[in-house]
């Protein structure tokens, strides 16, 4: 049997992702003991493990995006359910270290059309970043902006460095660290959503912390 090397890499990443998934579930099952010497390293390994899983998922998707166009599987989903799920995941990841809040603006409709899996992957990536940099609080928000559903993650960190803001705003690729990869990934996902000529967007800015927003038309 002959292997195409890129397919081999994709298969390998895939396998690793599944193994890591199991590892992550195993780590989840270790009960906390109220003893910092035990609990902190367990928490840290859980976070790290989840982070690696998510990064691999992104790598697979970007690999796909390079080779062929991403066709998002768009259907009607509830933004309320989405925000609740992301909040629950963020809360579990932070284990009380960071305060997680979620808000839904009144104007957000009961249903919106998007690819739930892609949007969740992008938001979880943003959550990982924020959990790593926030001081004490993180806010997940759904609102309506320019007729689009805006899903935001707002933290109380020092904010995005200038070069990242620039690279996202100007469409130049930034790829010296993991952060760059994750944001590129969010951008690909946002842009794969379009509706009646309007394309989705990733917007970053600083407002007493970093603000990450996905705009879905």
């Amino acid at each position: 049997m002959k292997f195409d090397s890129t397919d081999l890499y994709a298969a390998l990443i895939h396998e690793l992702k599944n193994d890591l998934g199991l590892l992550s579930m195993t780590l989840e099952s270790i009960p906390l003991q109220g003893d910092a010497a035990h609990d902190e390293p367990v928490d840290a390994s859980r976070m790290l493990c989840q982070g690696v899983v998510d990064r691999l998922q992104q790598a697979l998707l970007i690999y796909k995006a390079i080779n062929q166009q991403i066709h998002p599987a768009i259907d009607a989903y509830s933004p309320h359910d989405l925000v609740r799920e992301i909040q629950d995941r963020a809360t579990a990841l932070s284990r009380g270290r960071i305060q997680i809040e979620a808000t839904l603006a009144e104007a957000v409709p009961a249903l919106w059309f998007f690819d739930r899996d892609l949007v969740e992957m992008a938001l979880i990536n943003a959550i990982h970043n924020s959990l790593a940099h926030a001081c004490s609080a993180l806010q997940i928000k759904a609102s309506m902006v320019e007729g689009c559903l805006a899903l935001s993650v707002h933290d109380d960190s020092a904010g995005y460095p200038e070069h990242i803001l620039n690279s996202v705003a100007t469409n130049t690729s930034y790829r010296s660290s993991g952060t760059g990869l994750g944001l590129q990934f969010s951008k690909v996902i946002a842009q794969s959503h379009d509706n009646r000529g309007r394309q989705g967007e990733l917007r970053l800015h600083n407002d007493q912390g970093a603000v990450y927003s996905l705009l879905l038309p």
Binding site: N18, E28, A73, H80, E85, R89
Partner: protein, 554 residues
């Protein structure tokens, strides 16, 4: 509004009460999932490592939700398991079926399948995701309870009304309710209303399932060009949507473009090769088009990939052998029969397929004596009431004629013709059997004698019914049913006039019983026939008007 508060106020799900089934071929994954479920209170968890075990489990003990991995190793995959469970009524619409996929590609195949799971998750997932997804689906099932209840009772009008109520009052479920209503309208053949509904959804967003629904309603209205155009464009945006290839092949067949139909089926098979019915269709169309290599591969796949599937019947073994015979590959035929001997010997239908196929092989090899022995065996099976599909029966007639047993052959062909008096394709095949035996004139008279009486009784019945003389129409059509006891078209006409007669003259329980049996039998012979659901509805309506309890099935 804080989302956490919704959970408390709007709904409470008692996970301790729910029974779960986890299907995964990896033991560590099964255990991890069980542990995760126990974290939010699910303690009644059954485990299965493959489809067969899962079916065994649900037959033994119904469950509230099923978590199933798409990839179950050898044997059936999660999608096949879902189809068998839903089609076989092993689980009801109220049972949650959640698919777990690891491969990014299959997640889309699963999500866009014609019979989609209630939701799917991509591995690996965190416990919070599982909990949230289950919450949402269980609440959705709760909201749809009325609609499902009516649907299960075959009360489609009431189910539609329940959907309308959801559309009016529950903005969160609008799209889902429209989707279910669309299916109901299509089942009731209200194509124009369904078309308008799908256009409304597309107006919101051109999501693939709505476009597929639109294409289906166009096809039902015989607007084939528009249907094809829609489907080709859907596939450009959602190339993994296998259901669109299936429908495209139907549309192409309706346009008599067989090679395009084959092409569509091949593409569907390339994406999801395990679906038995798609392989069956591919084999059938390829065979009809003289593409024996494709037909052979497809029919062989039906048997290989559909091992233990409820959709595989003795007919499928006969189909593969027929192609192998046509290719002159007697060795392959012998191998197919040898390999599947125990399966075929297990039922009279299987024995019939085996005997007819062997008979054909002997005729082809010139061993008429051996063939004659098999014909005796077949005669016994037939005398006991065993029948095969029409093609097999025509093959049998061919073997009989090769052995000079003309009378037997004529009676077999006559029976096929009576039961398919309006099928141009089958009558043509029957003619070919006589041509090959050099009995063209005999064939013409057998076929015309067989069909003319059925056709006459049927036509008279229909004309009488149109004039409003339902009573005589019932007599004529019941006589036609005696003449052609396995003819779905005649049976459905008989059911139709009986119901009309009862409409007019009041309840007649004996006739109602006959109508009910005929309808069941027609559905068995011709599942999914477009007239069945309408007639069922009419029957249901009469039963409730006259306060008759529905007879328990079987």
């Amino acid at each position: 509004m804080n989302p956490a508060s919704i959970r408390v106020s709007d709904a409470f799900i008692d996970y301790g009460e729910l029974r779960a089934l986890v299907v995964d071929d990896s033991p560590s994954m099964r255990n991890a999932l069980r542990l995760t479920l126990s974290n939010f209170g699910v303690t009644k968890v059954q485990l299965a490592s493959n489809a067969a075990e899962a079916i065994f489990q649900v037959k033994g003990k119904p469950c509230d939700f099923i978590l199933c991995d798409f990839n179950l190793g050898e044997g059936r995959d999660g999608q096949q398991l879902l189809e068998e469970m839903r089609h076989g009524n092993l689980i009801s619409l109220e049972t949650v079926f959640m698919m777990v996929t690891a491969e990014a590609f299959y997640e889309k195949v699963v999500a866009t399948a014609e019979l989609a799971p209630d939701d799917y998750m991509i591995k690996p997932f965190s416990p919070e995701v599982l909990r949230n997804r289950l919450d949402s689906i269980l609440l959705r099932k709760r909201a749809f309870r009325e609609a499902y209840r009516h649907f299960i009772a075959q009360n489609l009008e009431a189910a539609i009304a329940a959907c309308d109520e959801l559309i009016r009052t529950k903005p969160k479920y609008v799209v889902e309710a429209l989707r279910f209503k669309g299916d109901l309208l299509v089942a009731l053949e209200r194509s124009e209303e369904a078309e308008a509904l799908y256009k409304d959804v597309i107006q919101m967003r051109a999501i693939p399932w709505a476009r597929l629904g639109l294409a289906r309603t166009l096809h039902l209205q015989k607007k084939e060009d528009a249907a094809e155009e829609e489907l080709r464009d859907v596939l450009k945006h959602a190339p993994e949507m296998v259901a669109a290839y299936d429908l495209l092949s139907e549309v192409c067949l309706a346009k008599k473009d067989v090679s395009a139909a084959l092409d569509a089926l091949k593409k569907g098979v390339a994406i999801s090769s395990k679906t038995v019915r798609r392989q069956q269709k591919l084999g059938e169309v390829a065979h009809g088009n003289g593409d024996l290599d494709t037909a052979r591969t497809a029919f062989a796949n039906v048997l290989n990939k559909g091992r233990h599937s409820i959709f595989v019947t003795p007919t499928d073994f006969g189909n593969l052998c027929r192609v192998q015979l046509e290719q002159g590959d007697l060795k392959a035929v012998a191998e197919t029969l040898k390999k599947n001997k125990s399966t075929l010997q297990a039922s009279p239908e299987g024995k019939l397929v085996m005997a007819v196929t062997q008979g054909m092989a002997h005729v082809q090899a010139g061993n008429l004596q051996e063939a004659a022995k098999l014909l005796d065996e077949v005669a016994q099976l037939r005398a006991a009431g065993t029948r095969g599909d029409a093609q097999l029966m025509l093959d049998l007639a061919g073997v009989s004629m090769a052995n000079g047993r003309y009378e037997e052959a004529d009676s077999i062909v006559s029976e096929v013709a009576r039961n398919a008096h309006d099928s141009e394709a089958l009558l043509t095949k029957a003619k070919r059997v006589y041509e090959q035996a050099g009995r063209v004139d005999a064939g013409a008279s057998v076929l015309s004698a067989a069909t003319s009486n059925v056709r006459k009784l049927n036509n008279e019945g229909v004309v009488l019914a149109q004039r409003g003389d339902y009573q005589t129409a019932v007599d004529k059509l019941l006589a036609a049913c005696d003449e052609a006891p396995r003819n779905p078209r005649i049976m459905l006409n008989a059911v139709w006039v009986i119901l009309k007669y009862i409409d007019q003259a009041g309840m007649d329980e004996k006739l109602m019983g006959i109508a009910s049996c005929n309808l069941d039998e027609a559905e068995r012979l011709s599942p999914g026939h477009s007239r069945i659901s309408g007639l069922r509805l009419h029957m249901k309506d009469l039963e409730s008007r006259y306060g008759i309890q529905r007879r328990a099935a079987g």
